[in-house]
Amino acid sequence: MTNPAVAVHGLTKVFPVPFHRQSIIAVKDLNLRIEPGEVYGLLGPNGSGKSTTLKIILGLVSPTRGRTEIFGRDSRLVESREAVGFLPENPYFYKYLTGKETLRFFGRLCGLKGSALKNRINELLDLVGLSKARNRRLGTYSKGMLQRIGLAQALIHDPRLVVLDEPTAGVDPAGSRDIRDLILDLKRRGITVLLSSHLLAQAQEICDRVGILADGVLVREGHLQELIAIENQTELVIADASDDLIREVESIVKRSNAELIERRKSTTTLERLFLEATKNDKARISNEEGTTEKK
């Protein structure tokens, strides 16, 4: 039997409040098992214990009770981190380093050097689309660029598990979509992804399984499709249907014991609309710039 990518056994974390008798229970008796190759979303509102759980899994915070493992190795052991790449929420990194220097620094921490490190840096900068900004200091990067360089450093040592804390927080829709695509590609390569988020629409698009935390307690967990499916309802999406056809379908439904709950026009998503609009806008601006230069 293979080890799970992440195993959390009876995890409880209590933060004492200085000079007060009461304490804050951040996580309460949490049990999780994330299989290799899964994309697992830890969802919940702010303060529900998502980040604390991730920090304990990464060995940054010690549990009050229980234990966590990464590929069968106790999280408190430094070597368990060999297999993990981590992107914290809103990372800043060192503003005085360039993109290339940042990746070199993190690569060296993982024992990479020489041409292997150099090649890896080039590959990752290409992957996250920052090749042109490689020699710019991180102080000049936008939030989306910081998130992408953060993802690159998380992947520098080719980890088997990537932990992402709110990976798209504060990133614009286009940047957010890039990160989502990268996560889906990690999954395709068999890399396990554990992410925390409160952006539910996005989690729905990429997660295989989700766990919902509320006040430190796991209140729901399971395969996404099973959790969100409404057992007694079915959707039909029909293209180019005439009014007659629609009326006929409705009358068939009426004649049977079923009930038609809603009839509406299909809509695109706001995200898709935004991306198409800004894409066209960008194309128009670049055409105009090209015309101006020719003049």
Binding site: K55, L58, G59, L60, V61, S62, V78, E79, R81, E82, V84, G85, F86, L87, P88, E89, N90, P91, Y92, F93, Y94, Y96, L97, E101, F105, F106, R108, L109, C110, G111, L112, K113, A116, N119, R120, E123, L124, D126, L127, V128, G129, G150, Q153, A154, L155, H157, D158, V163, D178, D181, L182, L184, D185, L186, R188, R189
Partner: protein, 311 residues
Amino acid sequence: MTNGENASTLEHLGASTPTKRYRPFSFSRIYAITINTVTELTRLKVFYVLLVFALVLIGSSIFMAQFSFQQEFQILKDVSLGAISLFTSLLAIVATARLLPQDIEDRTLYTILAKPVPRFEYVLGKIAGVLLLLAISTVLMGAAFLIVLYTREQAVVHTTLRQMSGAPPDQVADALRVVRSSAFNVDILPGIVIIYLKACLLAALTLFVSTFATSNIFTIVVMAFIYFIGHLQATAREYWLHEHSSGLLTRVFLAVVTLLFPDLQAFNLVDDIVAGTAISLAVFAKTAVLGIFYTTIYTLLAAFVFYGKEL
């Protein structure tokens, strides 16, 4: 960047990454953190302190033109060594105080410690970076001071030779010996080493304080307090021992005070150097060992506290 592009790039990822076996202790990891710390402090322009030092040197040289050469050399040594001591101490405290809190605030620490990096290696890397920066600063300030001292000495030698052009060679040689001995004495170099060790001690103590401090300001204020007490504690201790019996309890209490407030006055050899008093090898060795001992103890304490710190 499209999904398809990512996919094609990802196909090749990992091919160039050799699998590394984890080593519990790695100099290359510490070296990476050390160099990064030096880069950080350099790009934060802490070396501007050296410019201030240069201004002090130039300013004092202009001011000293009105004195006899003995007075001039004495003041030059006094001002320069005092300034080196002050600036390295200041640099040690201010530069070190921000290292840990800044990494925690920016969450950079999470990213570093989420890699296979033991916490003590992180602390060692940080302190090594500061010590390297202090070494570079001390060497640059020391070199500037020695160059100015040598230039002034040569100027006085030329003036003396011109004034004594007709005098017998014995008298000229004597006069030159007086000039040279009042300018450069060999104790300057061990004196600078001791100044460096004092800065190292302060840096390690600052790092220790910053492991449990809540902000940079708190660390700097505590260190200013320790700096002040540290220069007075030897006098206070002597007074205490003179007035009270030295029972076991007193000695334990004084040992704790000495650990919390290191005897910084013991590192103050500038007055002796300026006065031309020779620093014996025994005094130098004792002070150097004290400096290294304190630096090591505080670094270990910092690593110990940081090891159990909740991030």
